[in-house]
Symmetry: C2
Subunit: 262 residues, 2 copies
């Protein structure tokens, strides 16, 4: 690459999250960096976009020598604003989202603002990677994984993605044994709502739950993580269940039945 | 089915949206209905969930003789509350979401609160259908399509879904020619932000854009809709790009390279 690559960084934990700072540290030597991140925590916002109200952008001085803008919307809004307002003249060579505080392996991808931001960039043809560390705490230790993050980004910059434009990278805590290319594990959240009363005596429900893997396949991301490997799942936005197409053909006869009833 | 089926209804346009009322009208003869819908419009909320704050539920009298609860959260929150709080004793036989005011064909599925609500129910093993009419206006005419909606729901109640648990049903405006089982078309949003100044003189950006289909395939949902057919896309939550797995194996060598560098 003759020119230094332009690297767009975003996340869903917000501009001040230590995971974003860790990501800046991991990749600032690899190219020209621009950070466009939410001004508030946006965990669990999935692929939400803001259409009912206007958005704001402010340039902020948060990372030494790095251009950074905070936005009032969701992670996906940040990517849309980056592409259509801030980076109109030059498309990023890569979009990195994270490092998320907490797992986005398996089914978590569909709830994740981190991965949705990366997916949004991938829809624009930009190689995109969502990074997540399996530690939800604000004070998670990102240091040990940074050399891997650097290596993965360098590898993708040197070998642009072909079949897929989106990688979902999850990183275990503790000793890292290596990297595995995986499929998304089958899993679910077993949920309950904590019930309580607010100061006015009104009842409320607050979401809580635990992750339950339903999949011990050796090629599943959850398995790789359990075994101490970084999991990389090539991901996509086509949700068609191709194997199910033929099982539904009888629905095409509905119209005929209706006509014959008349 | 010996017992009358329990039908959970939700949407993303909110409890008072005409599309939800149309859906109630279409299916109220098919079983026992419970409506659990957002108390405010939630278009474009994707698979967002509310984790930073508590949720509220209120029973409301909106549909004559139909049990209905409005919730303070997103469409996915509504389904989680329905399952874990309101319907703890008896799981719904089917979950219907919509009828959305506007298309959720093609790439729209990933931004859609309507489809995300249905997907959330499908994750719980419940047959789920998202319905959308290709008319964004509040005063859209839902009447012409209601017999089809009734037929599709009756068909799925009589023939439970097998391979997939989630159908994305989009309905064209005007004369309906029939029903086609389709794949999700490849498409994108070409976007721009309308810039303006608020009453305090602060700059804002407001999302706008137009849908651009990149896919004329005869089996694509957008094509079926253009030709006057209802499109039904079997959909899923596994975002793995299986064809891309092998192209990424070189990333697994990163660790070896790192070790050899040391």
């Amino acid at each position: 690459m003759s020119k230094r690559p332009l690297i767009l960084l975003t996340n869903d934990d917000g501009m001040t999250a230590p995971g974003l700072r860790a990501l800046v540290d991991a990749v600032s030597s690899l190219g020209e960096i621009i950070v466009v991140a939410p001004d508030t925590p946006q965990s669990g916002k999935g692929h939400a976009i803001t259409i009912e109200e206007p958005l704001r952008i402010h340039e902020v001085n948060v990372f030494d020598g790095i251009v950074a803008y905070e936005c009032s919307g969701t992670p996906v809004d940040c990517v849309k604003l980056a592409k259509n307002v801030l980076l109109k003249e030059r498309q990023p060579d890569i979009c990195l989202s994270g490092i998320n505080h907490g797992s986005n392996a398996s089914i978590n991808i569909i709830y994740s603002g981190t991965l949705s931001a990366a997916m949004e960039a991938s829809l624009e043809g930009i190689d995109s990677i969502g990074f997540s560390l399996l530690d939800y705490s604000f004070s998670a230790n990102f240091q040990d994984c940074l050399p891997y993050v650097t290596d993965i980004v360098r590898h993708v910059l040197e070998n642009p993605l072909e079949c897929t434009k989106l990688l979902n990278v999850n990183i275990p805590v503790g000793q890292i044994k290596g990297v595995k290319i995986c499929r998304q594990a089958e899993a679910r959240w077993v949920e309950e709502f904590q019930e309580g009363s607010d100061p006015r005596g009104e009842k409320y429900y607050w979401l809580t739950g635990r992750f339950e893997s339903l999949d011990q396949g050796p090629d599943a991301d959850v398995t790789a993580l359990q075994n101490g490997y970084i999991s990389i799942v090539p991901s996509m936005h086509d949700l068609t269940h191709y194997q199910a197409l033929d099982s539904l053909r009888s629905l095409e006869k509905i119209e005929l039945n209706r006509v014959s009833e008349i």
